[in-house]
């Protein structure tokens, strides 16, 4: 099937198909969203105004049978950070979009009628904008249910909840999983608010009659697929630990490393860690039902996802990941996994990024709005977001906004985006990534953490500041390349360790594109795309002074290591050679 770009102009509600240029043909995922944003969006535009654009792009191999390859990237100028932004998600819509022949969807303009929402409906025969009607204002659980009822089971859904409709800058974009749960989020950076500002409630891809991906070299692709799948199965992390315990296995590990941010980044150790980690989730899957080893889309062989049930065995939430168990748990001093699951469910329904939501709650607790550790009060507070009350709007606009509203100094953000679950004062290299990423504080922007705590693909000592710069850059380029492919970032564990799996990954890409990318291209292209993102940010007004951690981390010692952040500014600046 020939590929095309779909341009959706919300000014006049028109949908146009465009050819894919050779330049764009070889790009996918984050490389494509960032290239389109860099080319078409004025870096100084207001992220929620008519001149920002929202781009959806499946990865290069998304929609193929390659293992763990169903990611969908979403890009825009971020209303949270003001930088260029890419967030990606698993779930089922990315694969379907690719199999429909869609290389990218570019959403531009804004509908004349304020507060009116539309859905973009796609089948092999029809691509049309329809009024969202009864879906407007609905949470994501009900939205997904109604869409499957009206358009058929198996429909891929990309949508926003009330937080996105109300233009809150912590709104994420939901992708549905195979069971139609809304929990797979392109969460970070407020892209849900950009979607809301375009009057777009959802994009849906119906199940019927989808085509197959065209392979330039099917033999090479098959070989690569085989090598990669073998590597993913053999590697202890992707073959054993992630399917057994999920990412939340890291709660206890980071806690023992003294790097689990606790009670709004005031300690690296949480006394309730044992109650909220992957071991408990695994145990519950046996005692309450639910599941570990859940795949967020067909064809994932790692299966890090899970399903967490209520004590009575009924469904509660899916997935409950490390970052969420931490942000809504340890970071708020909450040690009830049931309360954390409920907070996560609310995020999925209202349409919030869990990391930012937990960080905002932590800051509100710091301010004394509710006490640390009170899960029930946290649930009440988070429910305000969906109502659009003044308190809900404060929280729904993220940690930095909440900090300003309540006069809190200890606000764990870089470029306004909340830090994820690794304390930079205990794991110094992750701080370099947070500070220098093109996306604000983001653990997936460069997997320094993989070498430092998880010990994958290199050597690093978390508490030594030296040589973190080059390492962070290396990981940022590797990450952006993987984000362009459509592979789940978790393949990094295997491909950085096992040369055969790495080659397999390259073979699948070459098999699809008909190119002959090598390991050098992996680094070269990663560096080029990263430079493009940096350039956008510079033109948007960002300087090296923005590549810093929040000041409190430089003077507050973090227990139990009792360390401040001491990586010199020059080293942070050396990452991108500025």
């Amino acid at each position: 099937m020939g590929k095309f770009i779909l341009r959706l102009n919300m000014n006049d509600l028109s949908v146009k198909k465009e050819d894919v240029s050779e330049n764009y043909r070889v790009l996918g995922g984050r490389a494509l969203t960032s290239t389109i944003i860099s080319t078409e969006v004025n870096p100084t535009c207001h992220p929620l105004g008519p001149n920002n654009k929202l781009v959806f792009a499946p990865g290069i191999i998304t929609g193929t049978t390659a293992p763990s390859s169903g990611r969908l990237s979403v890009g825009a100028k971020s209303p949270l950070t003001g930088t260029i932004k890419e967030a990606n998600a698993g779930g089922i819509p990315g694969q379907k979009m690719a199999r429909l022949g869609i290389h990218a969807i570019i959403v531009e303009g804004q509908p004349k009628e304020k507060g009116k929402f539309y859905i973009l409906r796609m089948t092999p025969e029809v691509i049309a904008l329809e009024e969202a009607g009864e879906l407007t204002g609905k949470g994501m659980y009900e939205t997904n249910e109604l869409i499957w009822k009206n358009y058929g089971e198996g429909t891929g859904i990309i949508g926003i909840g009330p937080a996105g409709e109300l233009l809150m800058v912590n709104a994420g974009i939901s992708c549905n999983d195979p069971e139609n749960g809304p929990g797979r989020y392109a969460g970070r950076g407020g892209l849900g608010a950009v979607m809301g500002s375009k009057g777009l409630k959802a994009i849906i891809i119906e199940q019927k009659g989808l085509g197959d991906i065209a392979y330039a070299n099917p033999e090479l692709f098959k070989q690569g697929q085989h090598k990669l799948a073998k590597g993913l199965q053999e590697h202890a992390v992707t073959g054993q630990a992630l399917p057994t315990y999920g990412t939340a296995v890291l709660i206890n590990i980071l806690n023992e490393a003294g790097g689990l941010p606790t009670r709004n980044f005031s300690s690296g150790k949480f006394e309730g860690a044992s109650k909220i980690g992957g071991e408990v989730i695994n145990e519950w899957s046996k005692t309450r039902g639910g599941k570990v080893g859940h795949a967020c889309h067909p064809g994932c062989v790692i299966k890090c996802s899970n399903v967490v049930n209520h004590p009575d065995g009924t469904f509660h939430v899916s997935p409950l990941e490390y970052e969420s168990a931490w942000s809504l748990g340890a970071n708020c001093g909450i040690d009830s996994l049931d309360d954390i699951a409920e907070l996560n469910r609310i995020c999925n329904d209202v349409g919030l990024d869990t990391i930012e939501a937990g960080a905002a709650l932590g800051v509100a607790m710091e301010a004394g709005v509710i006490p640390f550790g009170d899960g029930k009060k946290a649930i009440e507070l988070l429910n305000e977001v969906g109502k659009g009350s003044p308190m809900g709007r404060i929280l729904g606009n993220g940690a930095a906004f909440t900090g300003k509203a309540f006069g809190v100094v200890r606000v764990p953000v870089v470029k306004n985006q909340a830090m994820p679950a690794y304390e930079p004062r205990a794991v110094k290299g992750i701080g370099v990534t947070y500070a220098t990423s093109t996306m604000g504080a983001d653990h997936t922007a460069g997997y320094t953490i993989a070498t430092e705590i998880l010990s994958v693909g290199g050597k690093a000592n978390p508490l030594e500041a030296a040589e973190k710069g080059a390492m962070a850059k290396g990981f940022q380029t590797a990450t952006i390349f993987i984000d362009a492919t459509g592979y789940c970032l978790f393949i990094a564990f295997a491909i950085l360790d096992l040369p055969d799996a790495f080659q397999g990954m390259l073979d699948t890409i070459n098999g699809v594109l008909g190119l002959s990318y090598t390991a050098e291209d992996f680094n070269r292209l990663g560096a080029e795309w990263l430079a493009l993102e940096r350039k956008f940010n510079e033109a948007a007004g960002f300087t090296k002074q923005d590549d810093r951690l929040p000041e409190f981390m430089y003077y507050e010692k973090l227990p139990p290591h009792n360390q401040v952040y001491d990586v010199p500014d020059e080293m942070l600046d050396s990452v991108h050679g500025s």
């Binding site: 992630l242 690296g268 996994l337 994958v456």
Partner: protein, 118 residues
Amino acid sequence: MMTFEGFNLRGMAMGELVLISKWGGIGLITVFLYGKFRDKVPGSAIDRECLLEMSVDDGDTIGLIIEKLDIMQKDVAHIFLNYQYSTVNRKLHPGDRLAIFPIEMSVLYRQYFVKHDD
């Protein structure tokens, strides 16, 4: 007092099962066990800290403690001594906190770990 595998059961403290090794020594360390190593402590629960106290002598290493716990070194993924990654060679001192994770919780390949080594 119940005895098993070289430990004497001392009783419950703060809801956790505390064991004390029957060997002598200059003082106690606290060992935190995760994953399948929790089975070393009868009655331990998955959602609580699983810890035991063990006595150490001058010059005792982490490796010796692991041996005393009847754990094979190849089954160990991560070791943290006082929140630092550690090799099995490090010497222990009374008051130390030692945490041991099994290979099934290895979100890592051990050879890449840079470990503190005395």
